[in-house]
């Protein structure tokens, strides 16, 4: 039996690919089993004595198997979701064994992106644990001949207090399995006061494996008889091999052969890019053989793409009226009156993910079935693309999910897994495709380049009387539809249509931009540029009015209220507006908390030092950041201290949450210091960490203090929301320290480093 709850509109685009944005869940699917019903046994949970849910099984020795159906890339979701199950089950965490699910729609959505693992599966995890607990109590009550209502649970046991009887879970599992799985309504969940793990958290289940080198990532997957592949891909998106010569390649020791891969038919979606694969006995031989290939390319129409000229095009577009996506009052009428008008252009270049584990996948095609081992954020998307590429049924694609050496959104797009599957079918043996770092950077699905035009008319106290903002960026839907040029609601909502200020006249616009590279989701996605534009422009207005930036920010946010999105397409990250309203009071609160914790206005800042503040809601979480910088005469920026306050509703794992916000500050530091991908004649200019540097230990905040606000609101995201306000606060701090306004990222353009 399955319960399907429609939580938001599904969006189907060309080719049947579901564009979920980074976040829109589409359908929430809570599968439950009926007692006695036979389902495929993929996991130990399936095979366990008692298995009331696909997520859970209990063996008669008391072992509790919990299935992690979402991918682990460092956010600890593989630990935190099972922890919720264990809490509701009253299970002893030491007796829990976590196993990783394969891609299978019975687990519901498995695309581990959009910072929604806890939010979307909190109820399902509690229900799974609560259902098993209910059945164990029934079994004990029957055994003791007492009413179930008189029984309760303690750690891994059912107890009957008045007769002082106890029965361990393991001993009850077999009897409990004879009871029907109760309907959801009968399962009573624990009150907050009885929670064991929720709100207290736990370190990663894999912690010891991670520090001993025993953890298995995609890069570490092996299969008997496997060969290694490295692929020379068309340097320009949409390019094709005109001719190639592999004579020198075949002379390289360890190289077996070369295999052409067909170019994709537009749109690219998650298809392999095409090119020539070099097959070898080990990774290094494949890399060496590839260097000796001689290929002539037909680059196709994207050969005309130059990122410098493109930047000017975006900016020009943003200087003219564009599509209105939200309007209040009449901003133009106010502008027409003249008075004090402030304008600015903001720009963020293309950004690459550069997860530490380059893309990699192992595939074995045998007897009409494909088995894959991949560090993927989205195993069901792997099933989709591999079934299409190989012409086999989705059920015949078994996608094993390894640990991910970082993901940041890149590993939601399974083009690299499809490559391995295609090659394995052609070779008739297991093939491991290993991307070099250069491949990883050049053939990314980049975070969109964006140009933003900001304009405000201000009153004598500096407060805006009219506000206009236009953003122009190549949209993510362009990977599914070559004609998509406007921002879609799922990405315009990310800090743009939901500008939270109390403004009498507001116009929010978006202009068209054609993509020439693949655009994709990267940690916090469109929030990166939108928060940068709005929060830094706000800081400009504060300084122009001679006002304290904190005081000014609170003033424009205004009094606590719920934003009314009537007439605006606002998907709210796939969540209902009833459960997750946009409450400006919560944004105000985190802003006040971070100001207090950081000692805003109380600490002295000497020459070359300064602090900046910014606040932003993304993935339903409210965050404010204060960043302190020191800039010396050579323009070298140091970041001695960062404070972040967040309201993410109920926080299940505070320790993991703090780690995510510490990491977000580092991720944001890379964006501000050095994040820039450019292209010449359609070819990406950068290749490795020498020209796409990411922040190192001596460049990052020396100390990031994370302040979690207590909240009874339902859980929201924590993986991404730390990035956007940090970036803006850092840039605002640089202004405070130097008088240099960062409008173009990265700061190297201002001569800073």
């Amino acid at each position: 039996m399955s319960e399907i709850e429609n939580v938001s509109r599904r969006r189907f685009l060309a080719g049947g690919v579901i564009a979920t944005g980074a976040l829109v869940l589409g359908v929430r699917y809570y599968p439950r089993l009926l007692a006695g019903k036979k389902l495929p046994e993929h996991t130990n949970a399936d095979r366990a004595t008692l298995h009331p849910s696909v997520y859970l099984g209990i063996d008669s020795d008391g072992t509790v198997w919990i299935v992690a159906s979402r991918s682990e890339m460092g956010t600890t979701s593989r630990t935190t979701l099972p922890l919720i199950v264990a809490d509701e089950l009253d299970a002893d965490w030491k007796r829990v064994k976590i196993e990783q699910a394969i891609g299978d729609k019975r687990y519901g959505d498995q695309n581990t992106d959009g910072s929604h693992s806890i939010r979307s599966f909190y109820d399902a995890m509690r229900e799974a644990g609560g259902t098993a607990r209910f059945m164990l109590i029934q079994a004990a009550a029957k055994q003791w001949g007492v009413p179930a209502a008189e029984c309760e649970t303690d750690l891994h046991v059912v107890v009957h207090r008045s007769t002082n009887r106890k029965a361990p879970y393991g001993e009850l599992a077999s009897a409990a399995a004879k009871f029907p799985v109760p309907p959801k309504e009968e399962v009573k969940l624990k009150p907050k006061s009885a929670w064991r793990y929720i709100g207290k958290g736990e370190v990663s289940y894999d912690l010891e494996a991670l520090v001993t080198g025993k953890a298995i990532y995609g890069m570490d997957a092996r299969a008997d008889g496997m060969v290694y592949a490295s692929i020379e891909r068309p340097p320009v998106l949409g390019g094709k091999v005109k001719s190639f010569d592999d004579k020198e390649t075949l002379k390289v020791a360890g190289v077996r052969q070369t295999v052409p891969i067909d170019p994709f038919k537009p749109p690219p979606a998650f298809q392999p890019l095409g090119g020539i694969a070099v097959i070898a006995d080990n990774t290094w031989s494949a890399f060496q053989g590839r260097k000796k290939l001689n290929i002539t390319w037909d680059n196709g129409p994207n050969e005309t793409y130059n990122s410098d000229a493109y930047k000017n095009e975006l900016r020009a577009t943003s200087h003219n009226p564009c599509k209105v996506v939200r309007n209040i009052g009449d901003a133009d009428a106010v502008f027409a009156k003249g008075g004090k008008i402030h304008e600015a252009d903001y720009y963020v270049p293309l950004l690459a993910h550069a997860a530490m584990e380059p893309l990699v996948a192992l595939a074995e095609f045998k007897d009409g079935k494909a088995t894959l081992w991949a560090p993927t954020q989205n195993p069901q998307a792997v099933q989709d693309i591999v079934s299409k590429e190989l012409g086999i049924a989705k059920e015949d694609v078994i996608c094993n999910v390894t640990l991910l050496g970082g993901g940041f959104g890149r590993k939601s797009k399974p083009d690299y897994v499809a490559e391995a599957a295609v090659l394995s079918k052609k070779m008739g043996k297991p093939v491991k495709v290993v991307w070099t770092r250069e491949d990883d950077i050049k053939f990314d699905y980049f975070n969109a380049v964006a140009s933003m035009y900001m304009k405000a008319a201000v009153a004598t106290n500096g407060k805006p009387t009219a506000w206009l903002q236009r953003s122009v960026f190549p949209p993510i839907p362009s990977i599914f539809d070559v004609n998509a040029v406007y921002g879609d609601p799922a990405h315009l909502q990310q800090g743009w249509t939901d500008i939270p200020y109390d403004l009498p006249n507001l116009r929010v616009e978006n202009g068209p931009a054609k993509a020439h590279v693949r655009i994709g989701w990267l940690r916090s996605v469109a929030n990166i540029y939108h928060a940068f534009g709005i929060q830094c422009f706000t800081d400009e207005l504060a300084h122009a009015a001679g006002r304290d930036p904190l005081d000014y920010l609170l003033d424009v946010i205004g009094e606590p209220r719920t934003i009314d999105f009537k007439g605006v397409e606002y998907p709210n990250y796939g969540a209902s507006m009833e459960s997750y309203p946009w409450e400006t009071g919560r944004l105000r609160h985190v802003t006040q908390v971070v100001a207090e914790k950081s000692g805003w206005g109380k600490r002295k800042h000497g020459k070359g030092t300064g602090v900046g503040i910014a606040a932003h809601r993304s993935f339903l979480t409210y965050v404010a950041a204060v960043v302190e910088v020191e800039v010396n005469d050579q323009g070298e920026v140091r970041i001695p201290r960062v404070d972040v306050a967040l309201d993410a509703g109920l926080v299940v794992n505070p320790e993991a949450t703090r780690a995510q916000f510490e990491g977000a500050a580092v991720f944001g530091t890379s964006v501000v210091r050095s994040g820039e991908i450019t292209a010449t004649k359609g070819v990406i200019d950068q290749s490795n960490f020498q020209d796409y540097p990411v922040a190192r230990i001596n460049e990052v905040p020396a100390q990031t203090n994370v302040h979690i606000v207590d909240s009874d609101a339902p859980p929201a995201g924590v993986g991404e929301p730390g990035v956007p306000p940090f970036i803006a606060a850092l840039c605002n701090a640089i202004f405070a320290a130097t008088g240099k306004r960062v409008r173009d990222l990265p700061i190297t353009k201002l001569g800073l480093s």
């Binding site: 520090v211 290094w284 550069a354 584990e357 970082g406 990052v700 020396a702």
Partner: protein, 151 residues
């Protein structure tokens, strides 16, 4: 034929002498703890010890490893966990964990010569090791904790 010691065991290699040590360890010996991150010595994910020195195995040719003693994460401590690994667990350093083996090998080499490094010395020793998840603050704390333990 190249002779070397890996985690105390004698090994011989008859393949291409230019093959980087990293791929020998990973693909030939199956020691996958050392990671591939950049291939050009810029990220430190592949860090191992060669004669006790922290070394980027992705740019160390097999010919340069000849006659040397190589230690990987698999051989860092014969009995249980190394103090650096213990500190890494105590401070809960890893997120995705992919770079952490290299970080730990680098930190262990640092602490073997300097038990109480200053922040500046930690920066100098660790700046070659990238962590994209951004665990640097905890790496610094864990090095200090491990140093205290080893002193």
């Amino acid at each position: 034929m190249i002779q070397l010691k890996v985690n105390g065991a004698d090994q011989s290699f008859s393949g291409e002498s230019e093959m980087p040590l990293l791929w020998y360890l990973r693909d030939i010996l199956g020691l996958t703890g050392s990671k591939f991150g950049c291939g050009v010595g810029l990220c430190g994910a592949c860090t191992v010890h060669v004669n006790g020195q922290a070394t980027r195995s992705c740019v160390t040719a097999m010919s340069d490893a000849a006659g040397k003693e190589v230690t990987t994460i698999e051989g860092l401590n014969k009995n249980g966990l190394h103090p650096v690994q213990k500190a890494w667990m105590q401070i809960n350093v890893p997120q995705c964990g992919y770079c952490q083996v290299g970080q730990i090998m680098q930190a262990a080499a640092l602490l073997s010569s300097k038990k109480k490094p200053t922040d500046h010395e930690i920066d100098e020793a660790m700046a070659g090791n990238i962590c994209r998840c951004g665990t640097y603050q905890r790496i610094r704390a864990a090095i200090k904790a491990a140093g205290g333990e080893m002193a």
